[in-house]
């Protein structure tokens, strides 16, 4: 019981930190709401899918920007996709970075886009590592026989 309690406390702290730092917004809470006995792994599934899709997108983006001349329309389309996914997940900072990226695309500034891409990548990997840690904790809790409490 002590272990579970400790793990749960850790999980709560981690989640709260994520919200506090603005990495996640209330959309993530909505996702958590959709998780119930009928759908126990919903959040994990969505998050994994997000990671897969995003990594693919990021590769595409990197490649597109290295082309010469840069097809800004295509780049914009990818960023739009990325923005959509991240906002569905609730990855706030990733989404914001995407917004800036899109502005640079409109201005057709190569340097700006490159920097924006860096920012997006940075944010993405940040959220990825944190979410992976969170999911791991949840697995541990479930393995130890506890339940994942709802966010207050």
């Amino acid at each position: 019981m002590d272990v579970i309690g400790r793990l749960q406390r850790q999980r709560t702290e981690l989640t709260q930190a994520l919200f506090k730092e603005g990495l996640l917004d209330e959309q993530f809470t909505q996702l958590q709401l959709l998780q119930d006995p009928n759908n126990p792994d919903f959040v994990a599934e969505v998050v994994s899918l997000f990671f897969e899709d995003s990594e693919k997108l990021l590769d595409e983006l990197t490649r597109s920007l290295e082309q010469d001349p840069v097809d800004y329309k295509k780049v914009d389309a990818y960023v739009h996709q990325f923005k959509g996914s991240s906002s569905s997940i609730g990855a706030q900072r990733v989404k914001n970075a995407c917004v800036i990226f899109r502005t640079c695309c409109e201005e057709r500034s190569q340097e700006g886009c490159r920097q924006a891409l860096q920012q997006v990548k940075h944010e993405f990997f940040l959220i990825k590592s944190r979410l992976e840690a969170l999911l791991q904790l949840e697995q541990q809790i479930l393995a130890a026989g506890g339940t994942i409490p709802f966010m207050e």
């Binding site: 209330e26 909505q30 919903f42 959509g84 569905s88 966010m151």
Partner: protein, 744 residues
């Protein structure tokens, strides 16, 4: 035979006999002619009532005459026949004369009484004549008065009135001179103002306490005055003035205050004018009573006419003044309007101009914060951010306040959840409060309505400002917020008895009380608290920061919401309580469409009754698909997902499809949501096809409008929360479209 005739006793007296003979003859003649005359004259006259008497008298005289005539024959010896005739006539005469004598006894008193009556009637006639004369004179006087009055009253000009009076009086009474003395401005003297004959009256003044004047003023009748008195000396004397030729009468000068209901107030302080009338000096005329009466009546009429003229003058003056003022006011109003327009234009421009760089600064500073910086740099950036936030708030505040002041700010009323507002406010202040180790508590009454109609943004602004102030000005202790329904019977703020709440079925009054244990306010500063730019103490400003505008804006917002705000404090160091009451509409239909994404999380999952409703989701983004599917499954729908427009159309063309709702992402490569919608509309009639809801991340109005114009039943903004999806589906099923889209 004895006869009476005497024998010629005295034959020598033949002369005497002869005299007697002649006398008898003449007597007989006379006796015969008198009745003839009588008859002649009576025949001539028309009226003579005593014919019978006349006849009698005539007979008597005739017989007497006959007797005398016959006696002519008796002087000489006469025969028996003559004697017989003589006796007969004498007998007859005797009879008639006795009868006449008897008759006269009746008649003479009658005749006398006739005479008396005649005299009486004559007297009466004389009297009547006199009276007739009097009446005629009176009537003439009356006519004169009427004419004079008519002349006087036919004009409202004071000078014309006075001149006409003098002229007409002069004419009517044939006066030598007629003068009018008016009281001077000082009220202590009378000044000659109008005369009849003299064209340029000398500016003579007579003091009021002259005995003559006092005498005249004390009586309301025309008074004869001495011609030596100063008021009568209007021109150099020619001819000898006889006493009693000059008459003076007072003319009361009436003011509006004299026309009081309930009769005249006979105060002795009323000002009078003096009218002096002079008869021609060389005539022997005297003042008659009726002339004096005429003069008195005229004087009264003049008084009335003058007062009317005065009233009219004043009302004309007042009207002119009002017109002038109107013109001035109109101009001032137009100037003020121009100024306001100019100010608004200026503010609008400045607002935009100032906010754009402000936003740029804030945005860039925020982004800068995210990058890697040295701690030094980080603190600098934080300062920049803090200052620019403050500046942005200040700009907004000033703009809001100026718009509030001239009433160009309107509340955005809509349905909203009341408890949520206060919970959010508390959440916003909790961080700062916890840093200061203040405890913040919120207690909401159980009878508070959950959904109300009002401007939630402004209400939150007010609540946040008040609670923020409470937190700001408290160094330690607690801040407690109480929200409850206010009933009209509860005690109100005694300082503003004109704030009264009108109870109504569709509105309620919410009372919010924020009590803190802070530094408190001195009782003399309490009224100043809500003034603009006034901080209690300028030192506080430096210590606590702030613009001083917050409470002023709050007050104005509260007033806009038909409420009242006030502050109570027991003194310095004893904390303070801010109470505000606002009027909110009661929401009759809970409209969940306006519910925002709130942080409130439902502890237990709620299944809704969409069991088995078939829904099709079209989105090219895998993650989005999954999330939307999860949402819909959670709500008990039977979800089918497709990844492109083409697939969507394919699925729909399959026979037996019975999707109720179709969610379409508008931004898809290849075939976007718009085209899908078009194709669907072409293919299916409006009753066969599923309800179309567009999903978009764009907050652009044009996107929305485009969707709606295409005939979509709703537009949803991504990302969607569970509650929102539930609400959307409920509304779709209930109404066939979303509340902000046109109905099918």
């Amino acid at each position: 035979m004895d006869c009476n005739c005497e024998e010629a006793f005295w034959p020598a007296d033949d002369l005497l006999m002869r005299y007697q003979y002649i006398s008898d003859f003449f007597i007989a003649l006379a006796y015969f002619s008198i009745p003839l005359e009588l008859i002649y004259f009576v025949k001539k006259s028309a009226v003579f009532p005593y014919r019978w008497v006349l006849v009698q008298f005539g007979a008597f005289i005739v017989l007497c005459g006959a007797t005398h005539l016959i006696s002519l024959w008796t002087f000489a010896p006469h025969s028996r026949t003559v004697a017989a005739v003589m006796s007969v006539s004498k007998v007859l005469t005797a009879v008639v004369s006795c009868a006449t004598a008897l008759m006269l006894v009746h008649i003479i008193p009658d005749l006398l009484s006739v005479k008396t009556r005649e005299l009486f009637l004559k007297n009466k006639a004389a009297e009547l004549d006199r009276e007739m004369g009097l009446i005629r004179t009176q009537e003439e006087t009356g006519r004169h008065v009427r004419m004079l009055t008519h002349e006087i009253r036919s004009t409202l000009d004071r000078h014309t009135i006075l001149n006409t009076t003098l002229v007409e009086l002069g004419k009517t009474l044939a006066l030598e001179e007629c003068a009018l003395w008016m009281p001077t401005r000082s009220g202590l003297e009378l000044q000659l103002s109008h005369t009849l004959r003299t064209t340029n009256p000398m500016a003579v003044t007579v003091p009021l306490h002259h005995p003559t004047i006092i005498q005249v003023f004390n009586s309301n009748r025309a008074v004869a005055i001495s011609s030596n008195s100063p008021v009568a000396a209007t021109r150099p004397r020619t001819g000898k003035y006889v006493e009693g030729d000059v008459v003076a009468v007072r003319v009361p000068l009436l003011h509006l205050s004299n026309f009081r209901v309930g009769g005249w107030s006979d105060s002795g302080k009323r000002p009078y004018a003096l009218m002096v009338l002079m008869l021609p000096s060389d005539s022997a005329r005297r003042w008659h009573i009726h002339e004096l009466e005429l003069v008195e009546v005229v004087a009264d009429q003049v008084a009335v006419a003058l007062s009317h003229a005065a009233i009219l003058e004043e009302s004309m003056r007042a009207r002119d003044l009002l017109m002038e003022q109107n013109v001035a006011l109109d101009m001032a109003r137009r100037e003020a309007e121009t100024a306001i327009c100019a100010r608004n234009d200026f503010l609008a421009v400045m607002n935009h101009e100032m906010r754009t760089p402000m936003h740029a600064i804030i945005a860039m500073a925020s982004l800068l914060q995210e990058t890697k910086m040295t701690p030094e740099q980080r603190s600098m950036v934080e300062t920049v951010l803090r200052s620019s936030n403050l500046l942005a708030t200040l700009i907004s505040d000033v703009l809001d306040l100026s718009r509030l002041e001239d009433g160009s700010l309107d509340l955005d009323t809509r349905n909203f959840n009341l408890p949520t507002v206060f919970r959010e406010v508390l959440n916003l202040v909790k961080p700062i409060a916890s840093v200061k180790k203040l405890s913040v508590s919120l207690s909401m009454a159980s009878d508070l309505p959950e959904y109300v109609i009002g401007d939630d943004k402004r209400l939150m602004q007010v609540a946040l400002n008040v609670v923020g102030n409470a937190v700001k000005f408290s160094r330690e202790g607690s801040v407690s917020v109480t929200v409850c329904l206010e009933r009209p019977e509860y005690t109100r703020d005694p300082r503003s008895p004109d704030f009264c709440m009108v109870p109504s079925k569709h509105h309620c009054y919410i009372r919010v009380q924020v009590r803190d244990t802070g530094i408190g306010i001195k009782s003399q500063d309490l009224p100043k608290v809500f003034s603009k730019f006034v901080q209690k103490d300028s030192s506080l400003n430096k210590h606590f920061g702030g613009t001083g505008l917050g409470l002023a804006i709050c007050k104005r917002f509260v007033n806009l919401m038909e409420g009242h705000i006030w502050i109570e404090s027991d003194g310095l160091g004893k904390g303070s309580t801010v109470v505000f009451i606002v009027k909110l509409g009661i929401s009759e239909q809970i409209n969940e469409m306006d519910q925002r994404n709130s942080l409130a999380v439902h502890p237990t999952p709620v299944y809704s009754n969409f069991n088995g409703m078939r829904v099709l989701v079209t989105d090219d983004n895998g993650v989005n698909r999954m999330v939307t599917r999860g949402l819909l499954m959670r709500l008990g729908c039977d979800v089918t997902v497709v990844g492109s427009g083409r697939e969507c159309l394919q699925v729909l063309s399959q026979p037996g499809q019975n999707f109720r709702v179709l969610f379409l992402d508008v931004c898809m490569p290849d075939m976007d949501g718009y085209e899908v919608a078009n194709r669907i509309q072409e293919k299916f009639s409006s009753h066969e096809r599923p309800l179309l809801v567009a999903l978009t991340a764009s907050t652009n109005r044009s996107t929305r409008e485009r969707c709606l114009n295409l005939g979509m039943d709703g537009v949803l903004l991504k990302p969607i929360s569970l509650d929102k999806m539930r609400a959307v589906l409920s509304e779709l099923l209930e109404w066939g479209s979303l509340s902000d889209s046109p109905r099918r």
